[in-house]
Symmetry: C2
Subunit: 368 residues, 2 copies
């Protein structure tokens, strides 16, 4: 058993209730006891990314059983390509066969795709049943597992379907990251490092100073850094649950150009976190051109991202296509784009008055 | 324009906000101005049951346009048989083609099937966009349009998918009922009359006294009675939004046996409201046998239901099959069935301690 107080990264407060986010090594063994503390008493329906089956998921299952939960397990081969309603229907059918009812609990174990899709199934099963997230990719840990956003793709667009459905518990075992491919790790670090740049200069310092330890997941520092990154996401979500205020939008730092890069290069060419890293460089270029930050911070951001093996430039993309793509980004509807820009290390703001010429220059500067 | 204060049947208070339910004649012409009052400013995406197309829907569209809303209209042939994800996807595709965004508004115009399905689409489009209900069947007016429940069937069961997604406005034009088939009208009256029996002795008196006027929709009395029935549903929903308390369950009066009858006879044999009417008679029989009410109230209920052309007995059904079906009713999970029973006219309560023998006798008594 782990030191449970120390492992508590955040308590997220929402209109659907509060929940704890637990981050540590071997915490997967606490899944059943932590679930007990939420007061939930039904059966546990564990839906797991096939990549975590059978071993890590077996350990999760055993932990649930030790907590007194009857368990059922569904392993799914699941990825961005089948993050769609057909896959959701597999989950529905399974829940129907086992007569899952309103008192039962869905546990989503896997990367962000699993969390988004299984979270959606839980949100829409019998008008919403409890969901617990056990994210196993770094991106899912520091980002998608917290905040209750769920998402499913349709042929006409990514994440067009979804619901806000807050989990009852989020449990992150850093040990799961051992098997995560290196490129996926880097993509996850991009989001974690981003949290430092926009909101926490001290976390940024840590990421900068300890890149080798972080990447090796050696010792306690990486666990603490992930925990802090999780806490930042938790604070933002608590302050701005539905992304209607000024807080949650800060998380989109690097995402306006990042999304455009994903779209124009064809989804899958860059991992999301990679595109975000390049997008952060473009955003830094904009802030520099607007006189909000100096070149030194731009260089610093580039160095940090490179130290986490992230790309900071893109090649083979057309500047006009990218700028066009930013305009159709969801966040830009209703006219002007809301840019998230740095004012200093650990300090971000939003601006709508960025001249297209400045954007073009900054984008050109990150293109080969 | 109608007298707007008088037409306000209820204001429903929920965690997702408050909304008004407007009931009157010709209020459809106020749709645009009433929508303006909610503060919503996007485009209006009107999804309409084909049976209301093109004339009544055209009038709704013109009202929206007078309110300054850009409108798009999708007419669907929609019924219980295609209340499924395939039909929801038609709505998604249409919204995607027109780039419906978070500021836009979905308007559902039709019976309860339309409201449930279009409400589900709105709940899950971009994690939830505003929905306005314009119910056109009596059942949808007095029942399903209020309370935010949405539902979609899968092959393995009815309404297994859904979400709580409260509307921003509910607008009910009693004039729409002129074209509703007589059997559907009666089924709607069953739910309206039910509200009288469980919660409002005065409303019950009105339904009893004025059955011919009600059925002819003559004069102001029927409009006032629908308004009052709507108000009862609105009060219950406000007090017990998620059906976790003791209030909302009262609305299930007649539904435990009613659902069993629908299931055992094969869905579609009885309309839902018809099965509920018979179920109310079975429930009254239980209450009488438990000494909670006297024979007079049972007879009175029978007379009232008959006066609205509702069945009060079922034929060709097996008592064991019915009792078995009550046990798999969603409300009964976790052991005992929670029966809603009358204590007097306009007064209902719940009981879990009803002996199966009493249920059997009461069910036998309503079977031919
Ligand atoms: N809900 C939100 O707030 C939110 C935020 C950001 C992104 N997202 C969504 O998250 C998704 C991306 O998440 P992701 O990057 O985790 O993608 P993912 O779920 O596809 O996981 C990445 C890859 O790593 C594998 N994997 C996961 N954990 C592993 C482990 N421990 N060991 C070995 N392999 C493992 C997966 O099978 C997959 O191949 C996207 O669909 C995106 O839309 C959601
Ligand atoms: N969400 C809830 O709280 C809730 C509550 C009760 C029932 N429901 C759902 O509601 C549905 C039943 O609703 P319903 O009884 O309105 O069924 P419905 O929508 O199928 O309508 C009944 C019939 O009347 C037609 N119709 C509707 N308005 C008309 C009009 N003005 N003129 C002529 N024809 C018209 C319809 O096309 C249909 O043929 C079921 O799917 C049930 O699950 C939901
Ligand atoms: Zn991201
Ligand atoms: Zn009903």
């Amino acid at each position: 058993m782990s030191n449970q107080d120390q492992n508590l990264a955040a308590t997220v407060n929402t209109t659907q209730g509060s929940y704890r986010v637990i981050v540590g090594r071997d915490v997967i063994d606490d899944l059943g006891t932590e679930l007990q503390k939420t007061g939930l008493k039904g059966r546990a329906f564990l839906v797991v990314d096939e990549v975590m089956f059978p071993n890590p998921s077996r350990r999760a299952q055993e932990a649930l059983e030790r907590g007194g939960y009857e368990t059922h397990v569904l392993a799914l081969e699941i990825g961005e390509a089948n993050k769609n309603l057909e896959t959701v229907q597999i989950v529905y059918d399974w829940l129907a066969d086992l007569l899952a009812d309103r008192s039962d609990i869905v546990v989503a174990m896997g990367g962000g795709v699993t969390g988004d899709l299984v979270g959606f199934a839980a949100a829409t099963w019998l008008r919403g049943v409890a969901v617990v997230h056990v994210p196993t990719s770094l991106a899912a840990m520091v980002d998608s597992s917290i905040g209750g956003k769920t998402g499913v793709n349709i042929p006409k667009g990514k994440n067009l379907l979804g619901a806000f459905h807050q989990p009852k518990l989020v449990l992150q075992d850093v040990g799961h990251l051992k098997s995560l491919p290196a490129r996926e790790m880097s993509a996850g670090w991009a989001e974690a490092v981003k949290h430092g740049f926009i909101l926490d200069a001290q976390l940024l310092d840590t990421f900068e100073r300890l890149a080798p330890q972080m990447k090796a997941l050696a010792g306690e520092e990486p666990v603490a850094a992930i925990r802090r990154s999780v806490a930042i996401k938790g604070e933002i979500v608590s302050a701005d649950e539905f992304e209607t205020g000024d807080h949650r939008v800060l998380l989109n730092y690097g995402h306006t150009i990042g999304h455009a890069i994903e779209k124009v290069s064809g989804y899958g060419t860059y991992l999301h976190g990679e595109a975000v890293a390049i997008g952060m460089m473009a955003a830094a270029g904009i802030a520099e051109r607007l006189g909000m930050i100096d070149e030194e911070l731009v260089d610093r951001q580039r160095r940090v991202l490179e130290n986490y093996d992230l790309p900071v430039r893109a090649s083979g993309l057309d500047v006009d296509a990218l700028i066009e793509a930013t305009k159709s980004d969801k966040k830009s509807r209703g006219g002007t784009i809301r840019w998230v820009l740095l004012e200093g290390p650990g300090k971000a703001t939003t601006r709508r008055d960025v001249p297209e010429e400045v954007v073009r220059e900054a984008v050109l500067a990150i293109l080969d």
